[in-house]
Symmetry: C2
Subunit: 308 residues, 2 copies
């Protein structure tokens, strides 16, 4: 599947993610169009050399929906009414997106996607042709053309694609994306509330990195946290219990040393997960398993590995 | 005060911080010596062109103690018995260091310092002449030659120095350094314990930055958390309460949006604290206040600003 294999690609929502997807596809020579209700966004996209429109054209082959999560139901219903194209979205909570796609009657031609990339910025002005390239994309199983979309992501974005079930996606990102966003905001909040005159002047790397994603677009953060409440709630409960344990163990140095030693010993499993790659001549067959499968472009073509 | 104004500088402990201080001072042409009980560290320091020794020489002018926090009492007592030089330490909890200096009989010639820099690495191999340059150093008030040390830090490390009381330092770093380390470890721990096969493969920027300082040298992390238990405990209590609020507000999107909006609105006060600089012809007088004072080198010489 070449980058242009879908014919015209309509990217709905010219923000950080949509703008970056459109710039990349345009750079590959694909026929791409940015669809955005905001005139300023359309002007910025046009100035970057992109075709623009206010509504999705009927004759496109693929629609990439990159709008805020809370308007996804309205946008998917609108898209469904305008074209018979394949539709993907890039939202961070796939249960929300799947429900919206189902309600819009798109289930058979919708595939849930989620690029694991972004910055603390938002808007077309911060988008770039490189942001989504060479990164991991999650794709959720469903009734839509999953293999076609996976192959397109690998070809267009040099993506490493993790294919998994909707609920498995939402549990995993609760751990590695939504919990970090909640913690980062809580850390920034506790320092703001303390109003300690010296704290801000002594803040350095650990605070800067620990709060990088905090205090940004409040509604975007709110949407992803509340939309994934079912998966995120138990993770926050676990984090509360852990922090209460750290608190108790401030008075028991041996216990805290044991705990931190265990965390260090287990870090590589999370930071450098091991994968055993194999050639993947039949993508559809590889994706017919219960667990998560990772797909990438290797020297001999598509390669796949079971996640573990 | 020139970089060489203290005569021979003995750096005790050739790890990440001590090694970096020694490399910088050596690069400035100062007479500097790395004192470390570990033969491998001495060899590495010597290979980098630094003078080395097993014990502190009597005739040095300044001793920079950069050992782990838990051996500070033993090291300061040893240093006190070997030289009449001024002594500074670079530990992250100043109450611990002040008590150790007092017990060693060093109070009148000891100044507590804390460079707000570091990496997730440790050891001489990771040290560099640049690590401690141009960064913020905390210096605590006390009976030692505070002004001399502040001027030396500004001259030698192009430091922005925050001068403050010991307890104010420990409260501030509990907020902006020790709490981030605890949160980072708790976040890494919750993902390790979950053993979710997809999570590690979907981890990206927010998780990487949120756990950068976690899962590293467990004893170093333990020491700074437990040594600062008095200041860190209440911060962890506040963070637990905040996370419990985030947890509740997953089911009340408006409340969570209000909260995240407040965090965003207040972020600049913490991230870009405002300072009003004034020339500082008399450093001793400027430092005679109750609050924190920030000192730097400006175009006309030393400049100072009250922290706020």
């Amino acid at each position: 599947m070449s980058a242009g294999g879908f014919g015209t690609v309509a990217v709905v929502g010219g923000g950080l993610i949509g703008g970056s997807a459109a710039r990349r596809l345009h750079g590959l020579g694909a026929d791409v169009m940015v669809v955005d209700p905001d005139a300023g966004t359309r002007e910025a996209a046009a100035a970057a050399g992109l075709a623009v429109a206010e509504v999705v054209p009927a004759d496109c082959g693929l629609v990439v929906v990159a709008t805020p999560l809370d308007v996804l139901p309205v946008v998917l219903a609108d898209v469904a009414s305008r074209t018979r194209a394949v539709v993907v979205d890039v939202g961070s909570v796939k249960a929300t997106a799947a429900a919206a796609a189902e309600a819009a009657g798109l289930a058979g031609r919708w595939v849930g996607c989620h690029p694991m990339a972004g910055t603390e910025q938002s808007g077309f002005a911060h988008s770039s042709a490189e942001l989504l390239v060479g990164v991991t994309w999650a794709v959720t199983r469903g009734a839509g053309p999953v293999e076609t979309v996976v192959a397109w992501l690998v070809a267009s974005f040099d993506a490493t694609v993790v294919v998994l079930d909707t609920d498995a996606h939402d549990r995993a990102v609760a751990l590695v994306s939504h919990a970090p966003h909640a913690l980062a905001n809580a850390l920034l909040e506790v320092v703001e509330v303390a109003a300690d005159p010296a704290a801000a002047h002594l803040a350095a790397g650990s605070f800067r990195d620990g709060t990088r994603v905090a205090g940004r677009d409040a509604l975007r953060s709110r949407n992803m946290l509340t939309d994934n409440a079912a998966a995120l709630g138990p993770v926050l409960d676990d984090l509360v219990a852990l922090l209460q344990a750290y608190r108790r163990e401030l008075d028991d140095a041996d216990l805290l040393a044991d705990r931190l030693g265990r965390v260090s010993a287990g870090a590589d499993v999370v930071r450098r997960p091991d994968l055993v790659w194999a050639p993947c001549p039949d993508l559809a067959m590889v994706l017919t398993g219960p667990g998560a499968v990772v797909v990438r472009s290797g020297v001999t073509g598509l390669e796949a590995a079971p996640a573990r």
